[in-house]
Each structure stands twice: as structure tokens, then as C-alpha cells.
């Protein structure tokens, strides 16, 4: 198979780690097998995505959501994945909520700072730092706006 320059495979290190975790101690994995598993994983993502997408299209939605992915798993006969996936999703959502609250807290703090009058030079420095944080949090903030609306 031709190797694409953009490498649509998942990071090798991650694949290796997962395989090691799955297999009993001391089992070796040939390089070929590892590469094959990596490719299989990519195909799995594509297959799952296209399957989930057909559910979304049926519901006349343009955005793939969690429900679509779960339905795709069932369709692909990977129902065994459903319980651990549900658990993982719960934990993930809680984590996300925590992050959102943390960045909301930051925003509130920022507003407080801007309200009070400080040394202009200090403010400028703070502003610079905040701008950097803003860029990092841009994604989260985008989501926040959706929630508020």
C-alpha cells in the first residue's frame, strides 16, 4: 500500500501503548502487526464516522453528535463497547464542565481586574498574558457561548 505523506494513521506510540495494555505481560508484537493494527484503527475511524454520519443525515443534522457515534457502534456490532463508552463520556463531560467553570471563573476575575484602576504599565502586562490565555481558551469560550444561547 502506498504511504501517504500526510500519515492518516494514529500516533505509533499510542497504538503501541494500547496493545501492550491489552495483551498479557511479556508478549511481543511484530512491527508488521503493529503497523497493521494502526491501519485497522484508521479504517475503524473512517467506518465509524461514515456510519455515524448516516444517522445524523437521517435526522437531518449536519453535525455528528455523541448519539450518532453510539448508534454507529451498535450498527457495527460493537455493542460491547457501549457501556465503557457511556461511562467514559460521563467522566469526560464532567471534566469539561470543570474546565468551563474554571475558564468562566477566569473571565469573571478578568472583568473584576479591568473594572479597578491599576498602574497602566501593569495592566498592559496583564493584558498581554491574558491575550495569550484567550487564544488557548478560544475553543472553550466558543462552546460557552453556545451554552449561554
Amino acid at each position: 500500500m502506498a504511504e501517504r505523506p500526510e500519515d492518516l494513521n494514529l500516533p505509533n506510540a499510542v497504538i503501541t501503548r494500547i496493545i501492550k495494555e491489552a495483551l498479557p505481560e511479556g508478549v511481543n508484537v511484530s512491527k508488521e502487526a503493529r503497523r497493521a493494527i494502526s491501519q485497522a484503527a484508521s479504517v475503524f475511524v473512517l467506518y465509524a464516522t461514515s456510519c455515524a454520519n448516516s444517522f445524523a443525515m437521517k435526522a437531518k443534522r449536519k453535525t455528528l453528535n455523541a448519539g450518532d457515534v453510539m448508534a454507529a457502534m451498535e450498527e457495527m456490532e460493537f455493542e460491547r463497547f457501549l457501556p465503557p463508552l457511556r461511562e467514559a463520556l460521563e467522566a469526560y463531560k464532567k471534566g469539561q464542565k470543570g474546565k468551563k467553570e474554571a475558564s468562566e471563573q477566569k473571565r469573571k476575575d478578568k472583568e473584576k481586574k479591568n473594572g479597578t484602576e491599576n498602574d497602566k504599565s501593569r495592566e498592559e502586562e496583564d493584558d498581554e498574558e491574558e491575550h495569550m490565555e484567550d487564544e488557548l481558551d478560544a475553543d472553550n469560550e466558543g462552546e460557552e457561548e453556545d451554552v449561554e444561547n
Partner: protein, 96 residues
């Protein structure tokens, strides 16, 4: 997770992907890799050699229903002469 996003976006017809959906797909892929590795190992002869080899995976792809979608990318390796033999056999059938 960003690599998974990349692969998902390469799929035609897909416009937007919800963050939760991305997470689930990533997690599902992890589970899949584990499942594939373990099943292939248990099924295959690799157990005796204590090594998971490519043929274990190809066997699993062919024999396990849920892995059927992998048969195209995990073809079994056959010796060239066996392949030529089967080609000849097919031609004979056509002739008849």
C-alpha cells in the same frame, strides 16, 4: 485526539463534528485496538510463540464477523506460487 479528528474530517459528507462525538470516537478506537489485539492473539498461533504477528491479525479479520470490514486492508499473505496456481485453476473453470 487531533489525529482522529483529522481522519474523521477526511470522510466525505461530514461537515461538523461535535466535541463529545470526537471524544467517543477516540475512546471507541482505543477499545477497538485492544479488542483487535487481544482477539487476534487469543485466536492465533502466536500464543505458542509468545508473539503477535501479522498473520494472527489477518486470520482474525477473516474469521471474526465483527472484523470483516478489515479483510481488505489485512489480506492474508499467500505464497506467489499458490496465487498463480489458483489463477490457473480459475482459468480452467472459465474454459469449461
Amino acid at each position: 485526539m487531533s489525529r482522529v479528528k483529522l481522519i474523521m474530517k477526511s470522510s466525505p459528507d461530514v461537515s461538523c463534528i461535535n466535541q463529545d462525538a470526537l471524544f467517543l470516537t477516540t475512546k471507541a478506537t482505543e477499545l477497538f485496538v485492544q479488542h483487535l489485539a487481544l482477539s487476534s492473539y487469543n485466536k492465533g498461533s502466536g500464543k505458542q510463540k509468545n508473539t503477535l504477528s501479522y498473520s494472527d491479525l489477518a486470520d482474525a479479520a477473516e474469521e471474526t464477523e465483527t472484523f470483516q470490514f478489515l479483510t481488505d486492508i489485512l489480506p492474508k499473505k499467500i505464497l506467489a506460487r499458490d496465487y498463480l496456481k489458483s489463477l490457473e485453476e480459475m482459468e480452467e473453470v472459465d474454459d469449461n
